[in-house]
Symmetry: C2
Subunit: 177 residues, 2 copies
């Protein structure tokens, strides 16, 4: 009960531990796609624009499962498929993801519309809460349509000002902040 400290980690600093888990080019992109783009299958990631190699993808999915951020279960309807989902530990990365997004959008040359970014920065809580809601209710519609890979839209036509509503903090949880 009192022998090993911080098990396998190089240092007990939480920042270091977090980076040991997903401090590389790909892990958080996978989490992003699960969280924000409604991806669920291996194929989704392979076709996902940034061009991850399949061996790396398989490796990262395995590691993310091992540390409890992602689950993978066989699809009932097509037994070849594995359906990947975020665990609660995984969806808890939403604030990290959001801050990463805001920083990148504010300081680098990205494809994100500045007004939307500004609104998101103003309504951080609402954005995170919306991400959580989608995860809870397994809503597969992508959270940020301007991200590009808009596959699997639920009802085509309802979307379009989705990100604007979101950024404005329409959801009830946005009362204070």
């Amino acid at each position: 009960m009192a022998g090993k400290r911080f098990s396998k980690h190089r240092s007990g600093c939480p920042v270091n531990v977090s980076l040991e888990v997903f401090g590389d080019r790909w892990s958080l992109l996978i989490v992003r796609d699960l969280m924000v783009r409604g991806f669920t299958t291996f194929q989704d990631f392979v076709e996902s624009g940034e061009g991850i190699a399949t061996n790396i993808l398989a490796d990262r999915l395995r590691k993310l499962q091992q540390c409890g951020i992602v689950t993978g279960e066989k699809d009932e309807k097509d037994r070849r498929r594995v359906i990947y989902r975020l665990t609660e530990k995984g969806i808890d990365l939403a604030p990290v993801m959001l801050e990463l997004l805001l920083w990148g959008a504010q300081h680098e040359n990205t494809g994100a519309p500045p007004e939307v970014i500004a609104e998101m920065a103003r309504n951080r809580r609402a954005v995170v809460e919306e991400a959580r809601r989608r995860w809870r209710e397994r809503d597969p519609a992508p959270l940020l349509p301007w991200l590009g890979g808009t596959k699997r839209r639920s009802r085509p036509g309802v979307r379009g000002s989705e990100e604007a509503r979101l950024a404005r903090g329409v959801r009830r949880s946005a009362s204070k902040e």
Copy 2:
């Protein structure tokens, strides 16, 4: 003016761009040490516990300077020394760092006192504002004493409940959130 999109990046997604800048094991640890431990010199990082190799350190410091997160200027008093500091773009990573810290502390086995973490989670704004204040005023005292490498404490003896005060959000900026 209308030729190349998103200059050198693989995809215009802000998350991807951010990860291209500091998505590796070491970059954010360097930023952390500059931000919360008051590190300023090459030597500080070398002795910093996690054991970064000097070639990697030199490389990361160079890259962080190239993308405007860090500056390096010769020390007036000892011309061998280079003093590294965060730019404003660099200190803007404080929210990312905080969320990374909170996630790690809440979900992994780390050395962070749970009560302090809980308080920090409750007072995110105050913590970030305190980090900014220290950066603005060039206050070299480490922000998180329990992080370990407590070098260069300003007045030894005043410390000890520093992190507790911080977490409780003592600073004026913590009024709402």
